[in-house]
């Protein structure tokens, strides 16, 4: 039974007043009086009142408890723990609270030991098995840290409800800055104390433990004058395990400490260098009594934080102290030392705490400090040895690089099925629906104008939800109608929805690359529909056409098709008779079904797939031949398969709905597109291409072009793929996936200049502090043989992701810059140990054969496990092959590499095949089989997605054969555009 909204409001108000009454009886009486004469209302009210009385008396409000639990799980707030037991301890009181968690004082529950401990209870729960393992790993590392100046970690674990805790030695003391203030210590004794802190941090770094949150409040001085560092390594466990939403406090304020390093403020991975920076901040405070950075107010926003930390140079320590004698004492050496530690770029800081402390020590003993000798410590780099072990290591590196980043968008959705190659004759039938049309237009979301309410961008929280479905439906149909006009380039829905409610049409036109803008507003008055529509010439900023329609509600389709036809003719792109008849055909005659469809569309766009599916099933029940409803139903199932849960049922249901659509309307482009979409989801690119061949114009041209490009690329039709990919990106410029696909195709074709030009345009649609675009730029520069540029473009990227870090490590090794490679490696999560072979490579390059062998032995076990789960995992096969090769197991090495090559034959997978053949070549080179290596290399050097010039020039795997004239010949070919077809 569904309630009438008005009666429900009435009921709520009666009950609300009833709850204000003092007693149960008074409440009953109130309800009875208020509902007099309306028996059903009374029944309902009494039933709810009875429920409320039960709730009132019950001790537990389960719904409330669940809500609180949700809040806690999401926000990770931990309820008061006083008196509760954590592990073997009982909490006695709270002693501190921070962004990561709360610190309690606790004592052994069994009373055996009187010693009190500090327990840090983190706000985050442990979610996956992997995180649990990682936690235990870190715990073991921390437990080994035994240093008189580091507070001992006594125990750690997970509470019953899944929160991590650390039990630590309880230190009674005052923060180091306060201690110095209270004791008005001399500069020299301050520096002595600072050196003690440094030596503790150094020991931790030697155990590969980075503090990440060094600050005065974590460094205590006891009454005996001993220094103790707290919370070592906990930030690392915490930050890596954290859910992204947790780093913000419940009140929305940033928890990032104002003493964060620039890289931390930008959210990049932090390293030992981060601790160097933090120690610089500390030394600044120790010397001057104030912090190096000034913020406009106490709770700076992220933007303010970034501006200050990343752009503003702090004043020199000597310039902020008042006392003249102290100024002189700080000027020179100490200004320079602090300045070096506080460099914005990690690479320009002291390369280690040890070198930092070394300068402080030299200053104290009156020696010349290094930083002033024009020798920043970070330039100390080992000269590269040319030993056999080095080449072995770099061979493995090359394997990883062959697989790592290029053609990444394919890897976002891993290959399950390989498809047959289409015969090229069929390809010519593929209609080339392009974005080349001269007339271009963006149809902005229509506004809803409801009498008595303001113009609102109708969103999910708005109250006029019904209106919003309806208005968006009109927008969608007009947009789709114009899309199907063959000579028009119409920006797709995904990219125009970003401009909902936006006002300056000119800027929008520029951003979307269109000459015209259409916009409109809709008003429902009773059963009359008012639609106002306007066509704007964006360059001249003039209205080309404008019209107000007023018709009965059920005439909505005719208004839509009239607007489409008028706009098309205004733009001199009149519709063909076929287009016209398709347009005037209403999608359904059943208005109820249509309303369900619009609601479904709304939920689909909100990615609420389960609701959309319910509504669409309702649609097709009401109107069985409603083709668009089947198309959307299929798309919904398939998106749910791709993005929510890859269940076979969703895939099958997506297929089923698409098949019905094709049966109902075999000629309709949208039905064919639905079918193609299914084949794409099922990784059957051949059939997808078949469906797309020779079909008409569907409602979503960007998707059509994207599907084409994906299929063509795999089949080796790179030019076509590039053309269709570009068309898709032009039609849907806000979709970063489309941009990535274009970049990859350019790079695979060694069109580096074109790739960079495209990147210049695409970058504004990417998050501004992302390094994805920089990664691709880096590929371009390396492809041209410019290793230094490839590195700097990525080093200077505004953000740093794991992908970017991996790429930088590879480039650092190409440049034989092992220190940088190792520093970068330290920022990667421990569990990624075998996903890239860096650790083994660096060990071999440094001549640590034992460590290298140990690494590769571990790698073999790791890859074998992976292959037991997925026998066709290309990365694992290649990695395994190399690990064997490094360990001298020649036959096994070649066997694994060949198996990978056979899994992706060139004729069936032009995207992955060249990389696998390259891997085989590298394995031969690594085994000392130069001739076989050259043979394999010759197969791929001219192929798209094959190795580029920079790879051959810098990758040390080729050192043995680089001077061979045949190799030189191949290298020069790699500098040319590839041949294919």
């Amino acid at each position: 039974m569904s309630m009438d909204p008005q009666r429900w409001q009435e009921l709520k108000s009666i009950l609300s007043d009833a709850f204000d009454q003092e007693s149960t009886d008074a409440r009953r009486a109130w309800v009875k009086r208020s509902c007099s004469g309306d028996e059903t209302l009374l029944q309902e009210a009494e039933s709810l009142l009875a429920e409320a009385e039960i709730l009132r008396r019950s001790a537990n409000d389960d719904l409330e408890a669940c809500a609180e639990n949700a809040a806690r799980r999401i926000r990770r707030e931990v309820a008061s723990q006083i008196g509760k037991r954590i592990g073997a301890y009982v909490v006695t009181r709270e002693i501190g609270r921070g962004g990561m968690g709360t610190v309690y004082l606790a004592a052994r529950a069994d009373g055996y030991f009187e010693k009190e401990v500090a327990i840090k209870l983190l706000n985050s729960g442990i979610d996956t098995e992997e995180m649990v393992q990682r936690f235990h790993f870190e715990r073991r590392v921390l437990a080994r840290l035994d240093h008189p100046n580091i507070a001992r970690l006594l125990d750690a674990g997970t509470t019953d409800d899944g929160y991590q805790y650390f039990v630590m030695e309880y230190v009674e003391g005052v923060p180091v800055t306060r201690f110095l203030e209270e004791n008005s210590a001399s500069i020299s004794s301050r520096l002595e104390l600072f050196l003690k802190i440094c030596s503790a941090v150094e020991v931790a770094h030697a155990h590969s433990v980075v503090h990440r949150d060094l600050k005065a409040s974590n460094i205590l001085v006891t009454s005996k004058g001993d220094v103790k560092l707290l919370d070592f390594g906990i930030a690392k466990v915490m930050l890596d395990a954290a859910n992204p939403l947790e780093s913000t406090a419940p009140d929305g304020k940033l928890l990032t400490p104002v003493s964060a390093s620039p890289e931390q403020a930008r959210g990049e991975a932090d390293t030992e260098s981060t601790d160097v920076y933090a120690l610089g901040v500390l030394l600044y405070e120790i010397l001057t009594g104030c912090k190096p950075h000034r913020f406009p107010h106490r709770n700076p926003t992220l933007q303010e934080l970034l501006t200050v930390l990343c752009d503003q140079e702090p004043h020199r320590p000597s310039s902020v102290v008042k006392d003249g004698g102290r100024q002189r004492r700080l000027r020179g050496d100490l200004d320079a030392i602090v300045g070096c530690a506080l460099q914005k770029k990690p690479a320009r800081r002291y390369s280690s705490v040890k070198s930092f402390a070394g300068d402080v020590q030299r200053h104290l003993s009156g020696k010349a400090i290094h930083v002033r000798a024009g020798e920043p410590a970070y330039v100390l780099r080992r000269t590269l040895s040319r030993s056999r072990s080095l080449r072995l290591a770099l061979t493995v590196l090359a394997v990883a690089s062959g697989l790592s980043l290029l053609l990444l968008s394919n890897r976002l959705f891993p290959t399950r099925k390989q498809s047959e190659l289409p015969r090229s004759a069929e390809r010519s039938e593929v209609s080339s629906i392009q974005a080349q049309a001269k007339k271009s237009i963006a149809v902005l979301p229509f506004r809803s104008v409801t009498p008595g309410s303001a113009v609102l961008p109708v969103e999910s929280l708005g109250t006029d939800i019904e209106d919003s479905y309806f208005v968006d439906g009109i927008h969608e149909n007009i947009l789709a109608g114009l899309t199907q006009v063959s000579d028009l380039k119409v920006i797709s829905r995904g990219s125009v929805m970003a401009y909902r409610g936006a006002e300056t049409t000119r800027g929008i036109a520029e951003a979307l690359g269109v000459a015209y803008i259409a916009e409109g507003s809709v008003k429902k008055m009773g059963d009359r529909l008012h639609v106002h529509s306007r066509l704007i010439d964006a360059q001249r900023n003039t209205t080309v056409w404008e019209h107000h329609y007023e018709k009965p509600l059920e005439d909505v389709f005719s208004i839509e098709s009239e607007i489409v036809q008028t706009v098309a003719s205004q733009l001199n792109t009149p519709l063909s008779s076929e287009e016209k008849s398709a347009l005037t055909r209403a999608p359904t005659r059943n208005m109820e079904a249509y309303h369900s469809y619009l609601r479904a569309l709304h939920f689909f766009n909100q990615r609420d797939y389960s609701r959309a599916i319910d509504l669409l099933q309702d649609c097709v029940r009401r109107d069985p031949p409603f083709v668009l409803a089947y198309c959307l139903l299929s798309k919904t199932y398939l998106d749910s398969y791709r993005f929510v849960q890859p269940s076979e049922q969703s895939l099958a249901a997506g297929k089923g709905a698409a098949e019905i659509a094709v049966r109902l309307a075999p000629q309709m482009a949208d039905a064919r597109l639905a079918m193609a979409r299914y084949y794409r989801a099922a990784r059957d690119f051949d059939r997808a291409l078949e469906e797309l061949s020779g079909m008409g114009i569907p409602r979503d041209r960007a998707e059509f072009n994207e599907l084409l490009a994906l299929a063509e690329r795999r089949h080796g039709c790179w030019n076509e793929a590039l053309r269709h990919g570009q068309a898709a990106a032009e039609l849907d410029p806000h979709n970063p996936f489309l941009a990535i696909e274009v970049l990859e195709s350019h790079i695979a074709l060694r069109q580096f200049r074109e790739a960079e030009d495209f990147a210049d345009r695409a970058i504004k649609h990417f998050p501004p502090d992302d390094d994805v675009i920089s990664i691709y730029r880096s590929y371009c520069r390396l492809g041209l043989g410019k290793l230094q540029e490839a590195r700097s473009v990525l080093e200077n990227a505004p953000g740093r992701t794991v992908w970017g870090t991996n790429r930088l490590i590879q480039l650092a090794i190409f440049a034989r810059d092992l220190d940088r490679a190792a520093a970068l490696l330290a920022t990667l999560p421990v569990e990624k140990k075998y996903s890239m072979p860096w650790e083994g490579i660096i060990a071999s390059m440094r001549g640590d054969q034992e460590k290298a062998r140990e690494y590769y032995a571990g790698a073999i076990v790791h890859y074998q496990k992976t292959l037991a789960k997925r026998f066709d995992d290309l990365d694992a096969l290649s990695g395994l092959g190399f690990a064997y090769a490094v360990l001298g197991r020649k036959e096994e090495a070649i066997r694994e590499a060949r198996r990978a090559v056979e899994l992706v034959p060139l004729a069936r997978n032009a995207v992955d095949a060249p990389g696998q053949i390259l891997v085989l070549a590298e394995i031969y080179a690594q085994l000392g089989e130069g001739k076989a290596a050259l043979e394999q290399l010759a197969k791929v050097v001219q192929l798209p997605a094959g190795p580029d010039y920079g790879r051959l020039k810098f990758d040390p795997v080729w050192d043995d054969i680089r001077m061979d004239p045949r190799f030189q010949e191949l290298m020069s070919r790699a500098a040319q555009p590839p041949d294919w077809n």
């Binding site: 389960d62 719904l63 979610d127 098995e129 409800d161 401009y499 929510v644």
Partner: protein
């Protein structure tokens, strides 16, 4: 009131955030992290920070984000409960912990979801409040800010909704 939507960055961010949330949820469901999880985590993180701190972010965008977030949690928790009913799962992942909590309170999430669908038919605002509170874990004052209604109203609506929900849940028990 026209929204001062500042075009591209935020507008495109919201659907992106939503996708990322869904994918994260999926990863939680499978109990594993993919190679790209860290990247995605960073994206969601960034998007959220921007929403929280960006000066140009409108109230609508923030409300929209929270709405979507709560909706995602609702879907994820409901889907998980359905999957869980079919096949008992173990482990310590977050969804499982949440599911165990509901179980300990004898709350059937799937029925809550169904009841909410019904409630939405005749009182969409109340249903939205329940979604934000019960699934999204937003506090009453947060909901008040997000929906631009008074704290007292949110409290009253939530109290009413609980009474109604309790009755619906106990009804379907029979």
């Amino acid at each position: 009131m026209p929204a001062k939507a500042n075009g591209s960055s935020l507008g495109e961010m919201i659907p992106a955030v939503y996708d990322e949330l869904l994918r994260l949820a999926e990863i939680y469901l499978r109990g594993e992290r993919s190679d790209h999880t860290l990247q995605r985590t960073a994206l969601v993180h960034e998007a959220f920070l921007r929403l929280e701190n960006g000066q140009t972010v409108s109230w609508e965008s923030r409300a929209h984000f929270l709405g979507i977030f709560a909706r995602t949690m609702r879907q994820t928790l409901t889907n998980y409960a359905i999957a869980r009913n079919r096949k008992k799962r173990g482990g310590q992942d977050r969804l499982e912990l949440a599911a165990e909590f509901y179980e300990s309170r004898e709350i059937d999430v799937v029925r809550v979801d169904e009841a909410l669908r019904e409630l939405e038919q005749f009182d969409p605002r109340q249903s939205q409040i329940v979604e934000l509170r019960f699934f999204g874990g937003l506090t009453v004052p947060e909901i008040s800010t997000a929906m631009r209604i008074s704290v007292a109203t949110v409290q009253r609506e939530w109290a009413h909704a609980k009474v109604w929900l309790h009755r619906e849940l106990s009804r379907s028990d029979r």
